[in-house]
């Protein structure tokens, strides 16, 4: 048991040595909790029309609502409390980003492992495809896809998976090619284990660290990309108001000086992305064996 626990403890010790990363992790935890428990912590259900009063619309931050609480971050054109709208929006943004990343991770991992283990023409074909896709910016690929298949939550998830899988496939393949030449794989082969068992039970756990790093950063990318697509009107439908849609809604009121409808959802989005990126940066430093000297410094 000691062998199983020691790396985890070392990893934790390495991570907490960077104070900024710890603060970022704490912030991320707060953001995640706020998103998960949005229905319990927000002052109102922003999409229950019975709780909205049109007389409360477009109130500045700090104004008192007719329905009895304070709009700390103002209200939008429907008289919706921005704090509540942001908490519900975070929920949708994080949910879509995490779901798409999880599926893309599984898909890219499987394709990368197959590519590395099979080699030959299949490997070349898959890697050419990855090269081809990565030579175009992800926003362009996602836009094209959504232009062809149309709008919807399922479609934006598909678009986010499509732009992400190639990163994982390339990362896994690179790491797996290194692992494949190691002795423990030879040993497993001598013991006549099946290819599937060797790939998934032996190689996979060893290629996970670089993959976790890429996945962390990709979640941030996915959330930002979804927000951008939603802002352009090609992402989430108005029945699922993510942060990007809230910002887009505020755009119409910007020129009349009502900055808060766009500003605060953007701050929430920015805080989420920065927190994820900082945690990802630290993970890369701690998990990267080439930076051995940095480990825990």
């Amino acid at each position: 048991m000691q062998l199983v626990h020691a790396p985890l403890r070392e990893f934790t010790a390495g991570f907490v040595r960077d104070r900024i990363a710890v603060v970022a992790l704490a912030a991320l935890f707060v953001i995640l909790s706020a998103a998960v428990f949005a229905p319990f912590v927000s002052p109102q259900d922003p999409y229950d029309l019975a709780q909205l009063d049109i007389l409360d619309s477009k109130l500045a931050p700090g104004a008192k609502a007719g329905v009895g609480f304070t709009f700390w971050l103002g209200s939008d054109d429907q008289g919706r409390d921005m704090v509540s709208a942001i908490l519900y929006g975070l929920r949708i943004s994080l949910g879509v980003g995490a779901l798409a990343t999880a599926i893309a991770l599984a898909l890219g991992m499987a394709i990368g492992l197959i590519s590395a283990y099979a080699g030959g023409w299949l490997d070349s074909l898959i890697m050419r495809l990855v090269d081809l896709q990565l030579s175009f910016p992800s926003i362009l690929i996602a836009l094209v896809l959504l232009a062809v298949v149309g709008q919807g939550v399922d479609k934006i998830v598909i678009a986010l998976i499509t732009v992400q899988w190639a990163y994982y496939a390339r990362t896994v393949r690179g790491a797996a090619l290194v692992e494949r030449r190691k002795e423990y794989v030879d040993a497993a082969r001598v013991m006549a284990f099946s290819s599937g068992r060797i790939v998934f039970r032996h190689i996979l756990p060893n290629v996970l660290p670089p993959l976790i790093v890429v996945a962390t950063v990709q979640v941030a990318h996915a959330i930002a990309l979804e927000a951008t697509l939603s802002f352009l009107g090609l992402g989430m439908p108005i029945t699922s108001p993510s942060l990007g849609l809230l910002i887009s809604n505020g755009f119409a009121h910007l020129l009349s000086g009502r900055y808060w409808i766009s500003f605060f959802p953007g701050i929430a989005l920015l805080a989420t992305i920065v927190a994820i990126n900082l945690v990802g940066d630290r993970l890369r430093d701690v998990l990267n064996p080439r930076l051995g000297s940095h480990y825990g410094t």
């Binding site: 081809l132 030579s135 755009f251």
Partner: protein, 325 residues
Amino acid sequence: MLAFAIRRLLQSIAVLFVMSALVFVGVYAIGNPVDILINPQADQAEIAAATRALGLDQPLWRQYWSFLAGALAGDLGKSFAANIPAVQLILERMPATLELALGAMVIAVVLGIPLGLWAGLRPDSVSGRVIMAGSILGFSLPTFWVGLMLIMVFSVWLGWLPPTGRGETVKVLGVTVSFLTWDGLQHLFMPALNLALFKLSLLIRLTRAGTREALAQDYVRFARAKGLTMERVVRVHVLKNIMIPVVTVTGLEFGSLIAFAIVTETIFAWPGMGKLLIDSINVLDRPVIVAYLLIIVLLFVLINLIVDLAYTALDPRVRLRGRSA
């Protein structure tokens, strides 16, 4: 070099074929092509006639062949909305996008290289840390939101800059440009700054890393030992050596600037081809969408080809690897 150039050219043509096939399958074969290519208001008789006229009763490979033949001749159908050839519509909008992308590139290079150099020379100073923190923020800030905030601050609160449009333009060699008039320049500044933000952060990090690496090299120590001033060492020795990666990345990133211009153009109502794409998607003007895709693919393949060839000319070691698509 010639053999490499020819091989690289053949690769680019192969990529173009693959992408055209993907676009074809995506837009023509998925769903009912008649819906895509014919005005939605058409009646049954018109649809039947159009199906025959478009050759949709032919086998798929034959349809792809005629699509390709049309594309090569520059004919990708007429825009439903504007009723002029889609390719012409996009080419009319292209100068605005190129101007915006070039403007952003100029801002990124003019600010990014000096700031990166400064941060690289003084990595532990307060100013160096502030620059780096700024570049991290630049990577994380959602571009479209920054655009909105720029409008908020500079147009609504301060009233210094106009929020939308291209302003007064002049024709130079048949191309309309904004940057030669004061009004046009005012209109260009905010969108270009918005688009530049991400590349600016990238260039700062790249230049800083290159500078720090170069400062640790023997030739810098030798130049200092020879009695040269630090200023001359930086200007002549360090800067020259960090320019190769910087130039390459700048070239490669130009394509992504054109892609990201879609977002910036939508915010600032800049009449480029990115805004045209979004407008066309909103009204389902499919010939324009297809034409945009094929033109942007061609543009990307060209940029990648030029950067690869330029890089090979600069650094012969690349020829031996020469694998990237």
